[in-house]
């Protein structure tokens, strides 16, 4: 009898698990989302989807509409048009369900200076319906996760900027949300804390959280995001993995080799190396255009060594997301 119960329970669980897999391919789906502030169109018919397990980056300059989009997803702002579906549920019908499963790290520090670190996390996590021992455990766990263990009883006003940022994150993750939205979590902090935060993002992702990460720091997005949407003037102007985005503007990278005796270089032989699309001799340097995604640096260097040509310097100029943004919009990420 007991065994039977166990087995049936197990099977049911398996079925449910499978169903879950099938259901939740996209944790977030946005269609035709629009937000106007008076005449100003902050988000302009935006559509996108984020799959479960991704670290999805919103890249765009200040005022591009990233925060507005996020605020509509979390229910902070009302949308003018469009649909938002989180975990398969419509934001209008299941607002509470969605809220329970989202954690947001706001752009600004959102903590109470008159409550201790522990009390801050405890309070915010408590709003998600936990209580008693469970609430305590989750609070401690979240503080430990961001490396603030042992500092529970300290008031945040005595924290450094980086520690405050980490507490800001702890307040958003203690209820173990499935989707964590981070709005510029690294603004104005020291490199060490930044590294810590980026590491925690990866760790959270490894623990099964889907993460939406907005930033106007191209390096961060490039470093941690699995997929990126470039947003400008409330529109997604390009979307994809960083390789896909780079390949939008070019399919080659430039390797500039400065050699001692350029006249001795056999350009045709270099051209023959795998992936090389074009070789030019420009003054003292050799400019080699190579296909993106082909690593032929070893071959190139070997060629120079075999032919006894001394390399003075070698510079690999690969397009980055900044270049992509600049090329597409004509502006830099930082200004505008």
């Amino acid at each position: 009898m007991h065994l039977q119960k166990c087995v049936s329970f197990f099977i049911l669980k398996m079925i449910r698990l499978c169903m879950k897999r099938v259901e939740s391919v996209n944790i977030l789906e946005i269609q035709d989302l629009t937000k106007k502030f008076g005449d100003f169109i902050a988000v302009d018919h935006m559509s996108l989807s984020v799959a479960e397990g991704e670290i999805f980056g919103f890249l765009g300059s200040n005022g591009a509409g990233k925060s507005t989009t996020i605020h509509m997803i979390t229910g902070l702002l009302r949308k003018n048009k469009g649909t938002i579906i989180v975990l398969g549920k419509n934001s209008e019908k299941s607002a509470t369900f969605i809220k329970r499963n989202i954690g947001m790290v706001p752009q600004e520090l959102a903590i109470y200076e008159d409550l201790t670190a522990y009390e801050n996390v405890h309070f915010f996590a408590g709003l998600y319906g936990m209580r008693g021992k469970k609430l305590h455990e989750r609070t401690v766990e979240a503080l430990k996760f961001v490396g603030l263990e042992g500092k529970e009883k300290i008031y945040p006003r005595n924290f450094s900027g980086g520690m405050k940022r980490r507490l800001n994150i702890a307040c958003a993750i203690a209820h173990r949300p499935k989707l964590i939205i981070m709005d510029e979590p690294t603004v104005g902090i020291d490199p060490q804390s930044r590294k810590y935060i980026l590491d925690s993002v990866r760790k959270l992702n490894a623990m099964g959280c889907t993460i939406i990460y907005t930033s106007h720091y191209m390096e961060e997005v490039e470093e941690i995001c699995t997929r990126i949407a470039i947003i400008d003037h409330g529109k997604i102007i390009a979307e994809g993995t960083k390789e896909q985005l780079k390949s939008l503007i070019t399919d080659s990278k430039l390797i500039v080799v400065d050699v001692k005796s350029p006249e001795a270089v056999d350009l045709a032989a270099i051209q023959a190396i795998q992936g090389v699309s074009n070789v030019q001799l420009d003054d003292q340097t050799i400019q080699i255009h190579t296909e993106l995604g082909v690593n032929n640096l070893n071959h190139l260097i070997a060629h120079f060594i075999q032919n006894g040509i001394e390399i003075r310097s070698l510079d690999e100029r690969e397009p980055n997301l900044e270049t992509v943004f600049l090329t597409l919009t004509g502006r830099n990420l930082r200004d505008a």
Partner: protein, 368 residues
């Protein structure tokens, strides 16, 4: 209009409040309590949407006015016509009837209150009537405005459609013409080929009887054919316009013309392989550029407009940028929506930026 009525109500209330407070030797507290209750009841009308609740609130305020009249101070009766008028305001078609009804309580009140009561009822009635009239007029005016706006929009749309249709047909006509020419030439050459064929047929039949003659004829036919093929190649090459040529040179021509006509200097730059742009994309590029130029002319006060076409690995980028005053907050007009729609038809995007000058960037994916 609601505001006007609320203000009138406030004025009346203040009158009652001050009259009561300034009267010496009276216990003010009950009066104040009653007035607060009246305010609560009366102003909650604006909170509710349901007509029933509104009516209830109004009846409550009427009751409060009567209670106040009876128990606290005769001046409270002045608040009664307000409630009556407001209650009947939306239900009655004839405001005069509401006015008459509001005057009825006059017969039941103290004699010395009557003139004041009649004054208040009449003035308020007048106000409500005016407001009702005004509301009606406003509603019709709004309706007219709406229809006018709709008409305008559909006309503009039709104009747009016509315009682009006209342009498109002119363009198609040109292409057709050229096709026809090449066709004709082809036909002419066809004749010479037919000639060669006849000679070859003749040679074939002469092959047994007179080989020399046949060979001569064949040689002739070969010559004609060779010439024919050569001329086909030549004429086709000369006549058939290369797509790139249509695109970029057309833009150049148009921009020069524009610069000459409008006294704005224009600069056209292009980078990348123009061959990869499809005719449809050229059409979008041309139309969007045209729209952007018109906008720049109308609003920007610019002295220079640069147009740049860049063919990237998987994208085509058209950027029209002026050095004018730009714009802080963009209000999307028909022109910009038109550009977006055209771009969207080819899966493209339009970015508009007005921070340093005004720039319109159209991004179109390269179809593979």
């Amino acid at each position: 209009m609601e505001r006007c009525l609320i203000s009138a109500k406030m004025v009346l209330l203040l009158f009652v409040v001050f009259s009561i407070i300034l009267e010496p030797g009276r216990d003010v507290s009950w009066a104040v309590l009653l007035i607060l209750l009246y305010i609560c009841a009366n102003f909650s009308i604006y909170l509710f949407k349901s007509v029933r609740l509104k009516t209830f609130c109004l009846l409550l305020s009427a009751a409060l006015a009567i209670v106040g009249y009876g128990l606290v101070h005769p001046l409270f009766i002045l608040l009664l016509p307000l409630a009556i008028l407001e209650c009947l305001h939306e239900k009655m078609n004839h405001q005069l009837i509401a006015q008459l009804i509001s005057l009825v309580p006059m017969f039941y009140i103290q004699t010395d209150m009557r003139p004041l009561y009649v004054l208040v009822a009449l003035v308020m009635g007048l106000l409500y009537r005016q407001v009702a009239n005004y509301d009606k007029k406003l509603a019709t005016a709004h309706q007219q405005l709406d229809t006018a706006r709709e008409n305008y929009q559909s006309l503009v749309k039709r104009l747009h459609e016509r315009d682009s249709y006209l342009k498109q047909s002119a363009y198609m006509l040109k292409l057709e013409e050229r096709n026809k020419i090449s066709q004709e030439i082809h036909d002419n050459i066809g004749h010479s080929i037919t000639g060669a064929l006849i000679q070859m047929e003749a040679a074939k039949s002469l092959l047994q009887r007179n080989p020399q003659k046949a060979e001569k004829l064949l040689q002739n036919a070969i010559g004609i054919t060779k010439e024919g093929i050569e001329s086909i190649r030549l004429t086709l090459k000369n006549l058939k316009p290369s797509i790139e040529h249509i695109g970029i040179s057309r833009l150049k021509l148009y921009l020069n013309e524009f610069a000459a006509k409008q006294h704005i200097s224009t600069i056209l730059t292009h980078y990348g392989d123009m061959e990869r742009i499809l005719p449809l994309q050229w059409k979008i590029i041309f139309d969007n550029m045209n729209e952007a130029l018109t906008n720049a002319l109308r609003y920007s006060e610019a002295t220079r407009i640069t147009v740049d076409i860049t063919v990237l690995n998987k994208l085509i980028k058209l950027e029209v940028k002026d050095n004018g005053r730009g714009i802080d907050i963009l209000e999307k007009g028909l022109g910009i929506i038109g550009m977006e729609e055209r771009a969207a038809a080819a899966d493209g995007k339009v970015i508009i930026d007005g921070k340093s000058g005004f720039s319109v960037t159209t991004l179109l994916p390269i179809q593979t």
